[in-house]
């Protein structure tokens, strides 16, 4: 039994769902339409996420922005050598965002930001060739982030606040109690499940307005370590007696720094640029321990690399009713070559965005956005997932479509 468990555990790979590719940035309908720029765009309550320092510069006393997006992710895998082809059948993800800010005084504003930065899910077919790496993975995370903004002078403000993160993960993969074996009772799988895991982090930002046309912003979010303690471990079709155990694991959500600027070219046109750096290097390895004291630990190297995103956006006020937006960003993957896993089938990507706002009246606007992410076809592999799982590689191609709808309210 010991040996069996060893094989089992050393096969065990956990999710790297916190990969850059899954950090599909959709934290505001207006910002998203502009390539998800926003650290220097003083426009709506979306600033509560992008740069809380800027809240104090919003014109209205009360600002509310809310939105929901449907993310349709498609990934195809094929291997011309093994002549196998599979594609994901993932349900539509629905990240939400809800921001509200209130100007307490000329110098102080406060706000709250609630958003779901990780809401993706990948479902591969149940009998697919990479099942020993992942069958399905689902992550839900809600960040609740109260913020304050303080105006130092007319050209400078600072802001920030604590982040309370509530996360959950469900991960399912196939196991082989004996290498290469098949089971008459169907595929043997292990499922790890942890819900309601909480953690704290913080955000701090600064906004500098050297002229009334130019805004320069910077925002920093701390690393947040999600510690799953005694999560549920369940087995399906386990050959023999399944271990009774929970699991512990720590998943780092890396710190992020965003620098950006916006420039009001004329009355109608605003241009924005953001540079975003995510410190994924913190994610070296995912170490899972099992609470039964018998199942050996599972050490899964990840070797992620820090990654940058370059964002460009434009906004055009067509008339008092319509505002149009467009943008583009280039997103570097944190996944190193040779560590490419079907649980995060993400290489460098190009994203194209667009959207509009329709002002119903002076207080209320409807915001629509659309995101299309293009991933080039990539030949990649996971060379040594762990000691016992064999290398797995092939050609991957993905895309993402994400239409979104929101409202903006000002008073």
């Amino acid at each position: 039994m010991k040996k069996l468990l060893f094989v089992l555990a050393s096969c065990l790979t956990f999710s790297s769902i916190y990969a850059g590719g899954y950090r599909v940035s959709i934290q505001g309908q207006r910002a998203l339409a502009m390539g998800h720029t926003g650290v220097a765009v003083v426009n709506s309550a979306e600033l509560a996420f992008f740069n809380p320092a800027g809240l104090v510069f919003l014109e209205n006393k009360l600002n509310v922005s809310a939105g929901v997006t449907g993310i349709i992710t498609n990934t195809k895998y094929q291997n011309l050598d093994t002549r196998q082809a599979f594609e994901t059948d993932s349900p539509v993800g629905t990240p939400i965002n809800l921001y509200a800010t209130y100007k307490i005084s000329d110098k102080f504003s406060a706000g709250i930001a609630v958003y779901t930065p990780y809401g993706s899910r990948v479902d591969w077919p149940s009998d697919w060739a990479g099942g020993f790496l992942v069958n399905s993975i689902e992550l839900s995370a809600v960040f609740i982030n109260p913020v304050v903004s303080f105006k130092v002078n007319d050209a400078l403000s600072i802001g920030g606040g604590p982040i309370y993160a509530i996360g959950g993960v469900n991960f399912n993969r196939s196991i082989e109690a004996v290498p290469g074996s098949e089971s008459l009772s169907g595929p043997s799988t292990i499922e790890l499940d942890a819900e309601g895991v909480t953690a704290w982090g913080w955000k701090a930002s600064v906004l500098f307005r050297p002229t009334d046309k130019l805004n320069i912003g910077a925002s920093y979010q701390s690393q947040i370590d999600i510690n799953a303690e005694n999560g549920d471990v369940s087995f399906q079709n386990f050959p023999g007696e399944a271990p009774q155990t929970g699991f512990n694991a720590t998943l780092p959500l890396p710190s992020e720094l965003t620098l950006g600027l916006s420039y009001q070219v004329n009355d109608k046109l605003l241009l924005a640029f953001d540079f975003n750096r995510a410190y994924w290097g913190a994610y070296e390895s995912l170490d899972i321990t099992f609470t039964d004291g018998e199942t050996p630990d599972s050490i899964n190297p990840r070797n992620y690399e820090d990654a940058s995103t370059y964002r460009f956006g434009a906004q055009y006020d067509y008339n008092s009713k319509f505002t149009f937006r467009a943008g583009y960003y280039f997103d570097e993957t944190p996944v190193a070559s040779g560590f490419f896993s079907p649980e995060t089938p993400r290489n460098d990507s190009h994203a194209f965005t667009g959207g509009l706002s329709f002002n119903i009246n002076n207080n209320l606007a409807i915001d629509a956005s659309f995101l299309y992410i293009y991933f080039a076809e990539v030949d990649e592999s996971f060379d040594s997932p762990n000691d016992s799982a064999p290398a797995f590689g092939g050609t991957y191609k993905s895309n993402v479509f994400a239409p979104g709808l929101g409202i903006t309210y000002k008073l």
């Binding site: 004996v178 290469g180 043997s188 050959p239």
Partner: protein, 499 residues
């Protein structure tokens, strides 16, 4: 086209049509790359041999095992290089075994991972001896066949079954009752063949624990004159050479090219290497009690030494002694000096040493009460019979015969440029000493159940083990005949089946 793409994306954006990523070169539009056959012609490949060629595994012949025999894997790879259809005389089901005699022809085994032991699959055979198929067939592997069986007329005759002169597997696909395997092969005019025969000429002796003998050299090579060697005997190497030369000459006369596969030394396969010689754990009290039981025997040995009928060395070798911990099993060894004339209690027993090979099938017997006398424990107070062990003397007979067969196979290849050799003997010994690694890093070893190469009978290969053999064959074929057959990925082939 470019514009269409943007229109497509635009329509996708609006959610009007499903928008999936498309590969530049989708698999479904990519034919398997054609390969060349070089000097070989794969249009009619015939595989000749025994259970290993048939795809026998887990103690049985069943459909999915047949589909993943090395011959079937190889034939599939040949299809990109002019290979024709490869027909297999499939069993009726994926269970294996024969309805008429499920004891001698049981269903396949699967692995009970909880108890870490093979068990029979929970299903009954549905294939009947009388389930005759219409051939001809390309995979002519006949489980159980020894070298001379391939040349024996009537080996596929249903009437001969009761006489023990026919093989039910061949009865199912023989073209007529009086034909032979080789005759049916030649009638198909093969353009390419593999021949892997000779294993059973020594294996059936080995799996019977060496209770048989080495057959004497016959005085004639006329097949019809020579009674086949007994089921559990070793075929005489000279007899084997005559048969083998006859088979290969007949095949060579067709100008077909082919690969001859030699005979692995069976003593390295898991059937003989899994159960350790010291398989019995004892505590001090039990060891003491067991020693008391053998005190008379040990004392009698010393008396025999004093009487000058036993050497002190042999007396030491035969002295039974148990201690706390793992203990060597007690075995009957026919090669010991017979002392029963002096004292009927001084039977030919000793404790096993690392040089003795215990059969896989003894694992269920060790430590259980003896069926004749329930107070005796098998392997301790009840010595294991000769049929459960290969002693060094028996192993030597096996090794010598194997080497002699392989010498014949080697000279046959050397004498004919149309033939190439696959050295399966070396491959199997590599499985036992560290394993064999595929190009993408998959390793198989001869460890029982977990090693990946051998199926649950400890003798025959798994689909993955067969994939390795097919790849080795491909290497031999390509380098000898200038073809470009592509290897398979062993990872795509399973090892054992769990319950």
């Amino acid at each position: 086209m470019k514009n269409n793409k943007y229109i497509y994306i635009a329509l996708c954006s609006l959610g009007f049509i499903a928008c999936e990523p498309e590969f530049d070169q989708p698999l479904e539009d990519t034919p398997i790359a054609a390969q060349t056959s070089g000097e070989a012609n794969f249009s009619k490949y015939i595989s000749l041999g025994n259970s290993l060629t048939a795809g026998f595994a887990d103690g049985s012949l069943y459909r999915s095992g047949q589909e993943s025999s090395f011959a079937n894997i190889l034939a599939t790879q040949m299809q990109t290089a002019g290979g024709g259809e490869f027909l297999t005389p499939f069993m009726n089901d994926d269970i294996g075994g024969f309805v008429e005699n499920p004891t001698a022809f049981p269903p396949r085994r699967v692995f009970d991972a909880g108890n870490r032991a093979p068990v029979f699959i929970d299903a009954a055979p549905t294939t009947s001896f009388s389930n005759i198929l219409t051939g001809p067939f390309n995979n002519m592997g006949v489980p159980g066949a020894k070298s001379f069986h391939l040349a024996a007329p009537g080996y596929g005759s249903a009437a001969n079954l009761a006489l023990g002169l026919a093989n039910p597997y061949f009865v199912r696909f023989a073209s007529s009752p009086n034909t032979s395997v080789i005759a049916d092969a030649l009638a198909q005019q093969p353009t390419f063949f593999t021949l892997w025969i000779g294993n059973n000429d020594v294996l059936s002796y080995a799996t019977a624990g060496g209770i048989g003998v080495l057959q004497p050299t016959p005085t004639t090579n006329d097949l019809t004159m020579i009674p086949p060697p007994g089921g559990d005997d070793i075929s005489d190497p000279t007899y084997f050479a005559g048969i083998y030369t006859g088979l290969t000459n007949a095949l060579a006369s067709t100008n077909a090219k082919g690969v001859l596969i030699n005979v692995p030394n069976v003593s390295t396969i898991p059937f003989f290497t899994t159960v350790p010689f010291n398989a019995i754990p004892l505590d001090q009290a039990t060891a003491d009690a067991a020693n008391t039981g053998f005190a008379n025997y040990n004392g009698g040995l010393q008396l025999a030494v004093q009487a000058g009928v036993l050497t002190p060395t042999e007396a030491t070798r035969r002295t039974i002694n148990f201690t706390a911990g793992q203990n060597a099993v007690v075995i009957i060894d026919e090669n010991l000096t017979d002392l029963t004339a002096i004292n009927a209690g001084l039977i030919n027993i000793r404790q096993a040493t690392p040089n003795d090979l215990l059969l896989l099938t003894v694992s269920g017997l060790l430590g259980t009460p003896n069926s004749d006398n329930g107070t005796l424990i098998n392997g301790i107070s009840a010595p294991l019979g000769d049929q459960w062990i290969l002693t060094p003397e028996e192993q030597l007979l096996i090794t010598n015969a194997t080497n002699a067969y392989n010498q014949t196979i080697q000279s046959t290849v050397s004498a004919n440029p149309n033939l190439a050799l696959l050295d399966a003997n070396t491959l199997v010994s590599q499985l036992a000493s560290g394993g064999i690694s595929s190009e993408n890093g998959t390793v198989v070893t001869s460890d029982f159940a977990t090693g990946g190469a051998f199926s649950l009978d400890g003798i025959h290969l798994t689909p993955r083990g067969n994939a390795f053999i097919a790849n080795e064959l491909i290497e031999v074929i390509n380098s000898n005949f200038g073809s470009t057959l592509q290897k398979v990925d062993p990872n795509e082939f399973k090892t054992i089946t769990l319950q």
